[in-house]
């Protein structure tokens, strides 16, 4: 018995020339379930809430309050909330469904060999990269919208003095580094958790993986929160820093 660890998700099958990986497959399945869930939730919304509605109301109201205190204004909170909360909710649910037991045991025979049927949705760098780019690009768009294109560019390409030029360059590197730090933090945590779980399961399948599963559960919640909050902070900084420099 040998342990196969692949950085990229394993290919399940091909549609045309596009390889459909196990992560992508389960992403589609999860999306379908979320959409169905939203459909039923939307139909059952009432003025006098039931238990499910109550939970969602509390979650949304609490999250909105948090977003509002972080960005500091209600209108900005209303604009950023859907993106940030969707990121949080989506990452959280994607992480949590990996804790449904029995997934590691199922493998499937494909053209490329035997591959596991299940893989954490977030343990797919492609998806994490897409979300990170979304987060960073929206941050840049907000910054351009608030400061105007010339001021925005002037922040990175500042020729007034060598020091300012250097600082502008650092800012530019910082923006690019955001993509790296944000995406690898989330992907690394989840992927490492998966690998760790697999290794522990491989070493001794009883009791030993349990503490790591708890650790993974903590990581699942914390990383979802961190990713969403960092996105929120980037956007709110982009929206407010320009205001401050205007005042200065």
């Amino acid at each position: 018995m040998k342990l196969d660890i692949s950085l990229a998700p394993e290919t399940l099958f091909y549609i045309g020339s596009v390889a459909i990986s196990n992560s992508f497959f389960w992403l589609l399945v999860l999306t379908f379930f979320i959409l169905v869930g939203v459909f039923f939730l939307n139909r059952s919304l009432k003025m006098r809430p039931g238990k499910v509605q109550n939970v969602f109301e509390m979650l949304l109201a609490g999250a909105f309050d948090f977003v509002e205190t972080t960005v500091g204004s209600k209108s900005l909170a209303q604009k950023t909330f859907p993106l940030v909360f969707t990121l949080f909710f989506f990452i959280l649910v994607s992480n949590l469904i990996t804790f449904i037991p029995g997934q590691a045991a199922v493998t499937i025979e494909t053209a490329g060999g035997v591959v596991p049927l299940f893989r954490a949705i977030i343990a797919d760098y492609s998806l994490v990269f897409m979300m990170t780019m979304l987060s960073v690009l929206i941050t840049q768009i907000v910054a351009i919208y608030v400061a105007g294109p010339f001021r925005y560019l002037g922040r990175f390409l500042n020729f007034t003095s060598p020091l300012n030029f250097f600082l502008g360059l650092m800012d530019l590197i910082g923006e690019v580094a955001k993509v790296m730090s944000l995406s690898f933090r989330l992907f690394g945590n989840i992927f490492a958790g998966e690998v760790l779980g697999a290794v522990m399961l491989f070493l001794f399948p009883f009791f030993l993986p349990l503490p790591f599963a708890f650790l993974g559960l903590l990581t699942a919640v914390v990383q979802a929160f961190v990713f969403a909050v960092l996105t929120l902070v980037f956007i709110s900084m982009a929206a407010t820093v320009s205001e401050e420099s205007e005042a200065a």
Partner: protein, 165 residues
């Protein structure tokens, strides 16, 4: 590049994942966040309205009670005024009746007294006549036996003067 291959990056899958996320974002926003926030806001407004209504009801209740109290006080005052007036009227009426009765009694008494006086005078005059006739008859009888004409004349005049006194 080796890293991109190792990480499994594929432009078409990236696009598919983006579209997937966009659909998720749109659906969650349109059919979950928005209606739930709307319901929360509506409920908040409803609660506000309910509290306002309760306040208004309590205020109006207080006002009504105050009004009732005022009304009661006014009614009592009016009642006492009416009773007083009635009392006065009754007193006056009584006085009137008594006064009228008194005057009537006076009139009647006066009348009776006048009647009695008249009766008395009538009786007296009648009695005088009768007595004088009787005396005259007695005297005539007595005198016819032992009196002369001269004597007769003297006695008559004497009696008459006595009577006139």
């Amino acid at each position: 590049m080796g890293l991109i291959e190792a990480l499994g990056l594929d432009g078409r899958i990236l696009l598919a994942q983006f579209l997937n996320f966009a659909v998720l974002l749109f659906v969650l926003w349109r059919f979950a966040y928005k209606p739930i926030f709307k319901i929360l806001e509506e409920r908040r407004l409803k609660i506000d309205q309910g509290l306002d209504d309760a306040d208004a009801a309590a205020k109006s209740l207080l006002l009504t009670e105050e009004e009732n109290k005022q009304l009661l006080i006014k009614a009592r005052q009016e009642a006492s005024l009416i009773i007083e007036a009635a009392q006065q009227q009754a007193d006056e009426r009584q006085r009137e009746v008594v006064a009228k009765a008194e005057t009537e009694i006076n009139v009647i008494t006066e009348k009776e007294r006048a009647k009695i006086v008249a009766e008395k005078e009538k009786m007296m005059s009648q009695l005088k006549g009768e007595v004088s006739a009787l005396v005259l008859a007695g005297l005539q009888q007595f005198l016819s036996e032992n009196m002369t004409d001269k004597r007769d004349q003297e006695v008559i005049s004497k009696i008459v003067t006595n009577l006139e006194k």
